[in-house]
Amino acid sequence: MCLAVPAEVLDIQGEMATCRVDRGQTTIKASTMLLPEAPKLGDFLIIHAGFALRVLDREQAEESLKSLGEIVECSVPSGVEG
């Protein structure tokens, strides 16, 4: 039901995006009506049951990878206050 990995937007017609899953030939269609903003070509979407739920935030992805690198170096990771 839920694709664990984001799919890349290849084409957009109205509120329907055609996306590529992984690097393969498989494409799927997803409605973009639940997204706060229309996605762009090349964006990566999280798709669940035929609907896009989020656009992948590239900056945050880079940021996470950077902090992952730092975590293996340092001690207490930061969190959100409980």
Binding site: I46, A49, L56, E63, S64, L68, P77, G79, G82
Partner: protein
């Protein structure tokens, strides 16, 4: 370019470093529960489960939507199958979920019921248009990830003046179930891996009660080994420093406030209600029902369906598995009377079910 970016989330060298660090951080057992069926599969499929330190105890929680669908809800949709003028539409996972007396939707089809497997609730619009003389009833199971997709479909149906679509709404919401689990003294847990895509919709805020009320940690995380390891390490280190927190390690997808648009669409159509969960029983406010303004779509109203506590499946321990009280291989039927080819309970049917994941990956 971005596929390379995503690949970096399963960098084996970094994984190994995180594993070493996790090992070094553990001074006692750490019991974690993952709350999402996709995490269950990811933990097994990536091989992570066999690599985790012995002191990390992995429990699967109530995060497989098919598995937590209550016995009475299963019987309710099985009762609808085969009714005159009804075409049931469903996600494929529900086809083999057993109800009372070994009934399931596959057998119902063999007996002449009209049941259509759909990939998206969106597909029911076409089905309804093509069958104007029938009622198309979609079985709505799932959490806050699925509920907005069904709400969106209902809005489209209204815009397109499709009047023969009904929704059998069995949606459930995750944070309330976690509250119930944590309040149960029989369940001992140190932390939760929170669901990535449910949280993409609801954000991080609804989980704040976990450290505040129960003193346990919880981290929203993604599905790559690095995501999972990072979140486990965080929770262990928080505990080592005497604290519990809520964290978000899936910021590339989840923002703290979630997806407001999806929540708005969901709550335009649904409102909270009490719900029965397999294994967990009745949890006040943990379900979604169709609100009055959209009552014309409500299959429960159309067919007078009332969901009440009923007998559990004989012999099946899914209830205890979903609470993390038992591991799948502790069920006496596991791998003997109950296999994926011949499932006794839903946890062995669903691709996201713990018993199915155990069977597929642990017995290899």
């Amino acid at each position: 370019m971005s596929f390379e970016l995503l690949d970096r989330f399963h960098d084996p060298k970094l994984c190994r470093q995180l594993l070493d660090k996790l090992n070094a951080s553990l001074d006692s057992e750490f019991r974690f529960m993952e709350v999402c069926g996709t995490h269950t599969v990811a933990i097994f499929q990536s091989g992570l489960r066999s690599l985790l330190p012995e002191k990390i105890i992995h429990l699967s929680g109530p995060g497989c939507p098919v598995c937590v669908t209550h016995e009475s809800e299963v019987n309710a949709f099985l009762d609808l199958a085969g009714r005159d003028g009804v075409i049931l539409a469903t996600f494929g996972d529900l086809m083999r979920v057993p109800g009372e007396k070994g009934r399931n939707l596959k057998k119902a089809v063999a007996d002449g019921a009209r049941v259509k497997v759909v990939y998206s609730p969106f597909d029911t619009l076409k089905l309804a248009r093509e069958n104007p003389d029938n009622l198309v009833v979609f079985i709505g199971v799932g959490f806050e990830t699925t509920a907005p997709t069904i709400a969106g479909t209902m809005k489209m149906a209204r815009e397109q003046d499709i009047r023969n679509l009904r929704i059998l709404c069995f949606h459930k919401t995750v944070p309330t179930a976690l509250d119930t689990l944590l309040a149960d003294q029989a369940i001992t847990l140190d932390g939760f891996l929170l669901p990535g895509h449910v949280s993409a919709v609801i954000g991080v805020e609804p989980y704040r009660f976990i450290p505040a009320t129960y003193g346990k940690s919880a981290v929203v995380t993604g599905f790559e080994p690095l995501d999972i390891l990072q979140s486990l390490l965080k929770m262990v280190e928080w505990r080592n420093h005497g604290g519990a927190q809520v964290g978000n390690d899936y910021t590339r997808i989840v923002s703290d406030s979630g997806n407001r648009k999806a929540m708005d669409v969901m709550y335009e159509v649904f409102e909270p209600c009490d719900a029965l969960w397999r294994g967990l029983g009745l949890i006040p406010g943990s379900g979604l029902e169709i609100c009055d303004e959209w009552a014309g779509f409500d299959a429960k109203k159309e067919f007078g369906i009332v969901i009440e506590e009923g007998p559990a499946l004989p012999g099946c321990k899914c209830g205890d598995i979903l609470k993390g009280v038992l591991q799948p291989d502790q069920c006496p039927l596991f791998g003997k009377a109950c296999t994926p080819a011949n499932p006794v309970g839903p946890c062995m049917v669903s691709t996201e079910g713990s018993c199915a994941a155990y069977y597929k990956y642990k017995l290899d």
